[in-house]
């Protein structure tokens, strides 16, 4: 601890803390622009200058570590004059005229800083230099004329996301934000995660979807959970007049710490599918609008005779984007009450079934959490393309690479992580089990095995031949894995999991599977993880909501004599269904989600649905009533009835 004095207040603060953080922690305000609590201090804007006794000049508090007996003053005339001067210089450099800027009126940190200093005008006139504006990106507008060169976006893109697309060209006042080597942002390596927009203090980076649609003081903010995948990022959903304005990553979110990917931030903004507005019943080959009561009565009359028929009753499938409450009721109604032997989810257990069986076998949880990626010295990714899916988990890996974390990719397909990897094992043939065994043999051969294994160094040539790879490839890969502490193994599905676990134990690593959709783990806990087949079933009930069904399951659906779909948007399914029920989308319903690391999170309602759009829970309860069935399931209990691959909290 160090003792410092700020404005006459004696404070005890931890060594190594910056003066700015020490002041903030003790309620002393120092204005900042380039500083951001989640980014590495940069010291670029100089707005946070303070007077330090004994120092020749004013010091930037954001990069100045405290030292014992330091005496700091933040409110002297010298400091206040310097702040105004810093702002004066910033305003003079570029086009900071407020009246036609998207962020003016509360959302601009530069304008707010000027107001706080009581600036009524710019003491220096602007120099009217023109910088290019880049509108080539589908979501983001990069307006260099509004830029104050704080480099928050550059640090977010590199330090947080690990993508390193943004950077600066030229020097001094001519410095200009560029993508890659100066290509248009829309043609760059940008992955559209939008972190840069979220951290930009001015209107230099804005998004097309929310621009000019409402300031932060004019919107309602709902803190909820993204349901695009199993990572379970916390989001702030900004709405105005019950319509979606913007989605931002929640900096307080324990899982994602402010980050989002394109699927979470921008995809929901561009939904332009046709909305199912009313229940519909097929009559004489065409869907006709009906009341909820008519639709549910029609379904009930068809399902009642099928009750108790396991192999030729009603086959049911629900989207893993639905809250656990809905999935649990769904299982109770169709599997427990109607006795169907075919109740599953849109994921059909593809990413969870094998590892769940393995958990049953070993009878305990065996996976780690996403935080482990932050401390892992090496990461081995098996078959999962974290550049396409579960992207935020990919950011956690990519951003550690520059700090020396090793990355090994094992994938027969082309994997988006390959360009970042220290080593790629792209087998031409053989199974994953052969590759894992080859890696074990290589680790043994290097003499670096920490756990027991029956596989010997002499087996390596055999596994190399079986997978069409060179012995040296395995030795290189084994070196990547073993030259670092705490390796984490990220895998897509649990095939050959027992062998993978052996490899993990040999190098004292940890396992983490991606599990697919936002509630795939919960569905797996409910044993809803089989492949969907219509076989002899006489009816099919798909609760898709705003999710999507695979082409294969749509083909199976079509075979059923009587077809019901509960959906938000028109699709191939609604085109062939006999009864279509309008459903809420993810923003219009509430419920719980369990992410890939077992964290239970509550998603809230951000948008009030139209009267005719029902939540799946509402629909299932109403249907149960028509079928004279009482639903009583307790999902919180059900989640713990089966051993899970990762501890559920």
């Amino acid at each position: 601890m160090a003792t410092i004095t700020i404005n006459g207040n004696k404070l005890e603060v931890p060594d190594g803390m910056t003066v700015l953080r020490a002041a903030q922690a003790n309620g002393i305000e120092i204005p900042t622009l380039c500083d951001h609590p989640h980014l590495t201090p940069y010291g670029g804007c100089r707005l946070c200058l303070v007077e330090v006794e004994g120092a020749r000049t004013l010091q930037p508090s954001c990069t100045l570590p405290v030292s014992n007996n330091m005496v700091v003053k933040t409110d002297t005339k010298k400091v206040l004059d310097a702040r105004k001067f810093v702002l004066t210089l910033i305003f003079s450099e570029r086009n900071h005229f407020c009246p036609y800027c998207q962020v003016s009126g509360g959302d601009c940190e530069l304008q707010n800083a000027a107001y706080n200093e009581g600036m009524t005008h710019w003491p220096l006139s602007p120099n009217y230099t023109t910088f290019p504006m880049d509108a080539s990106h589908p979501h983001i507008i990069m307006e260099a004329n509004r830029c104050i060169l704080c480099r928050r976006c550059v640090r977010a893109c590199g330090d947080l996301v690990g993508n390193y697309t943004l950077g600066f060209e030229e020097r001094g006042a001519n410095s200009i934000l560029v993508a890659d080597t100066g290509v248009p942002l829309g043609e760059s390596t940008c992955i559209s995660c939008g972190a840069c927009v979220q951290v930009c203090p001015t209107g230099a980076l804005i998004d097309r979807w929310s621009a000019y649609r409402g300031r932060e003081t004019q919107v309602d903010i709902t803190n909820t959970v993204c349901v695009a995948c199993s990572v379970g990022c916390k989001v702030n959903v900004l709405t105005r007049n019950n319509s979606l304005v913007r989605i931002e990553g929640d900096w307080e979110g324990a899982v994602n710490e402010g980050l989002l990917c394109e699927l979470g931030r921008f995809d929901p903004m561009k939904v332009d599918c046709e909305r199912i507005a009313t229940p519909m019943i097929r009559k004489n080959g065409a869907l006709k609008a009906a009341t909820w009561d008519e639709a549910l009565s029609t379904i009930a009359s068809q399902l009642k005779p099928l009750s108790g028929k396991s192999a030729d009753g009603v086959a049911a499938l629900i989207s893993t984007r639905q809250p656990i409450e809905a999935i649990s009721l769904f299982k109770e109604l169709f599997a427990d009450q109607l006795g169907s032997g075919m109740v599953t989810t849109t994921e059909e257990g593809e990413f969870t079934a094998d590892s769940a069986v393995y958990a049953d076998t070993v009878n305990k949880a065996f996976e780690t959490d996403l935080k482990a990626l932050q401390t892992a010295g090496a990461v081995m990714v098996v078959d999962a393309d974290l550049v396409k899916d579960h992207q935020v988990a990919g950011f956690f890996i990519k951003r550690k690479l520059s700090a020396g974390t090793n990355l090994l990719v094992v994938d027969k397909k082309e994997n988006g992580l390959n360009p970042f990897a220290n080593k790629v094992l792209k087998a031409g043939k053989g199974s994953n089990a052969d590759i894992f065994k080859g890696l074990i043999a290589a680790v043994v051969k290097l003499g670096l095995a920490k756990g027991k294994t029956a596989i010997k160094a002499t087996d390596l040539d055999g596994f190399a031949a079986a997978t069409g790879l060179k012995t040296d490839d395995y030795l290189d890969a084994a070196f990547v894995l073993t030259s670092a502490e705490k390796p984490v193994f990220v895998y897509e599905n649990g095939s050959d999991l027992a062998v993978l676990k052996e490899l993990v134990d040999v190098v004292e690593g940890q396992l983490l599977s991606l599990k697919g959709g936002s509630n795939s783990l919960a569905a797996s806990q409910l044993h809803l993880d089989k492949t969907f087949k219509i076989n002899g079933h006489k009816a099919a009930f798909f609760a898709i909501g705003d999710g999507e069904a695979s082409q294969k399951s749509v083909k199976e659906f079509e075979k059923a004599p009587f077809k019901v779909v509960l959906a938000t948007y028109a699709s191939a399914l609604t085109g062939v269904a006999d009864v279509v029920l309008p459903s809420t989308n993810w923003l219009e319903q509430e419920g719980h989600y369990i992410n890939l690391e077992g964290k239970t999170q509550w998603a809230k309602i951000a948008i009030t649905p139209a009267e005719e759009s029902w939540t799946t829970v509402q629909t299932l309860n109403a249907l149960a009533e028509k079928l004279s069935v009482k639903l009583t399931a307790d999902w919180t209990k059900e989640m713990h009835e089966r051993v899970s691959v990762v501890e559920i909290s």
């Binding site: 005229f97 009246p99 009524t120």
Partner: protein, 180 residues
């Protein structure tokens, strides 16, 4: 004590600030009770008294030689000069043309607009004021009070006028300080 004399005029602006002044509604009566309103662009008297006024108010930036003349004249006839609105304070919306050359903006305005036929030409009558880059008025004359806003809110205007009317120099902060 005699009521302070107030004059106003407008330069390269849109008259919106003077409209915002009227948004004070019935409070304008309170202001009139405090000050002796002399020339304004929206009343009959157009020029500040030769003997001078206490407060001069200028809306709009300076974008030609005529604006400059009006500004200098107002400055020399008032004790306290108020820059009224974003254009007077910063240059404002008209200053956007400064990111282009004068030649480009004139060509765009008089020749290239969609509504201009082939007879369009840039006016060059020697009687006309000479256009220039758009400036905040502080680039030409000393300003005592800056009242930014596009337009300044009626509340901010009322605050400034009532302070000046009572012989104080107004300070803008909190709700009355905004630039848009």
């Amino acid at each position: 004590m005699a009521k302070p004399k107030v004059s106003s005029d407008w330069l390269a602006g849109c008259a919106g600030c003077h409209m915002s002044l009227l948004d004070m509604d019935e409070r304008i009566v309170d202001v009139i009770n405090l000050v002796d309103l002399r020339s304004t662009p929206i009343t009959d008297l157009k020029h500040p008294d030769e003997s001078g006024v206490d407060v001069g108010i200028l809306e709009g930036g300076i974008n030609n030689s005529y604006n400059e003349e009006v500004a200098v004249n107002m400055r020399s006839h008032c004790k306290i000069l108020v820059a009224f609105g974003d254009c007077a304070v910063f240059g404002g919306v008209p200053a956007m043309r400064n990111f282009f050359t004068l030649e480009e903006t004139l060509r765009r305005a008089y020749i290239e607009t969609e509504s201009t036929d082939e007879s369009g030409h840039i006016p060059n009558d020697p009687e006309l004021a000479v256009p220039m880059k758009v400036h905040a008025i502080q680039d030409f004359v000393k300003v005592d009070v800056f009242l930014p806003g596009c337009p300044p809110s009626a509340d901010a205007i009322f605050h400034v006028l009532s302070e000046l009317g009572q012989g104080r120099v107004p300070e803008l902060k909190g709700d009355t300080l905004h630039w848009n």
